[in-house]
């Protein structure tokens, strides 16, 4: 017998797995419910990772499209949140790696033979556009803690955000990031150490 479509009030009472089942049956409103549930946490994570609102929105959009178009391959034994955060985090990390390749400061080309050639082939950290974007992000993300989080290694950053901002358990973070549980614990411990130091420095200034 066909399953009737839930009313808007019913959607809120359904688990992620149940909403996914409705999406697999082709219910447009189930897709919207999943977007409604996860757009905020996923966007916040990605935004804090890449610190550029426009880019974060593009990456979040890509994440949702990727997940929702493959909704029938979702395996209910895993959490839907783990799946979507995993894809979002991978997208953000890939972007950060790409950006670091684009903007990493190097001491000129190893093949440069003159001072001018070395100067001409030296890459600078960031460019004017990135600095402006960083400034905008810093104004919105504003606080000392945000600035300190932004200085962490991307792997530490995702771990600490997932653990202490989103409140995800260690096991789920390990599953999301494809890391051993011990590594996740170590990353989070090191990230907290670094943050304590960075914040102490910021307050001393």
């Amino acid at each position: 017998m066909p399953v009737s479509a839930p009313t808007p009030a019913d959607w809120r009472t359904l688990s992620d797995q149940e909403v996914v089942q409705h999406a697999v049956m082709g219910r447009d409103s189930a897709y919207r419910e999943l977007i409604q549930r996860y757009q905020r946490p996923v966007f916040s994570l990605v935004y804090r990772m890449v610190r550029d609102r426009e880019l974060a929105e593009d990456l979040t959009q890509e994440t949702f499209i990727k997940v929702l178009n493959a909704i029938d391959s979702y395996r209910p034994e895993f959490k839907f949140s783990s799946w979507i955060f995993k894809i979002a985090n991978n997208a953000a990390i890939d972007q950060l790696r790409k950006r670091s390749l684009d903007t990493l400061s190097l001491d000129g080309s190893p093949h440069a033979e003159s001072a001018d050639a070395i100067e001409a082939t030296t890459l600078q950290i960031g460019d004017a556009r990135e600095s402006a974007l960083d400034e905008v992000a810093s104004r919105e993300l504003g606080s000392q803690i945000d600035k300190a989080v932004a200085r962490l290694r991307p792997e530490y950053r995702s771990c600490i955000l997932l653990r202490h901002v989103d409140g995800r358990p260690y096991e789920e973070i390990a599953e999301m990031l494809d890391l051993p549980l011990g590594t996740v614990k170590t990353y989070i411990h090191r990230a907290r150490n670094e943050l304590r130091i960075l914040l102490a420095e910021a307050y001393d200034e």
Binding site: M25, R27, R40, F64, I65, I145, L199
Partner: protein, 192 residues
Amino acid sequence: MNTQLDHHVTAEELDSLAMAAEAPRAIAHVATCTSCQIMVERDHHLVMMLAAMPMFDPSSAFAQRVMSGVKVRIPVLHGVSARERAARRRVAVGSVIASSAVAAGFAWAVTNPADALQWSAPAVQGAGTALWLSIQAVAANAAEQPWFGGFRDLMASPGRAFPIVAAAAGLYAVGLVGLRRILAEPASNAGW
């Protein structure tokens, strides 16, 4: 002196204290160690700050933009998609109408054979004449073509005609199969 209490707070214990979980040894040690006390306080403060970090919303058109890039699955109930069920329903209704019309016509012809014959005779005769004229026209046209002589010689021998006809039939079958594959629905996304 309790040597266990002399050890500074471990990472696990620091985590337990930050999460307000049970850590009796660490609590006892912190009470006597100023450096650990400062570290635990700072860590606790840090965790509170992280938990209080605001969340951000994407722009208001975000959901709409996502939906425009998503291919909503066609509902599948009992193994048959809604589109397929609608198509089947249309075919069934069409078949019933056509069968009813044929049956009604047949019943009328049986009950009124004289009328049926009177009405159908000119139509049957006309159709037969038209068909015969068409065949004649096509044959006359073909006979006028420059290649017709060679073709007639080729087909005059059954030994030559048979493989040619067989090859043409094979080519036709291959064409049909190819067309069917081209028109077949693409396979669904295998996911990742």
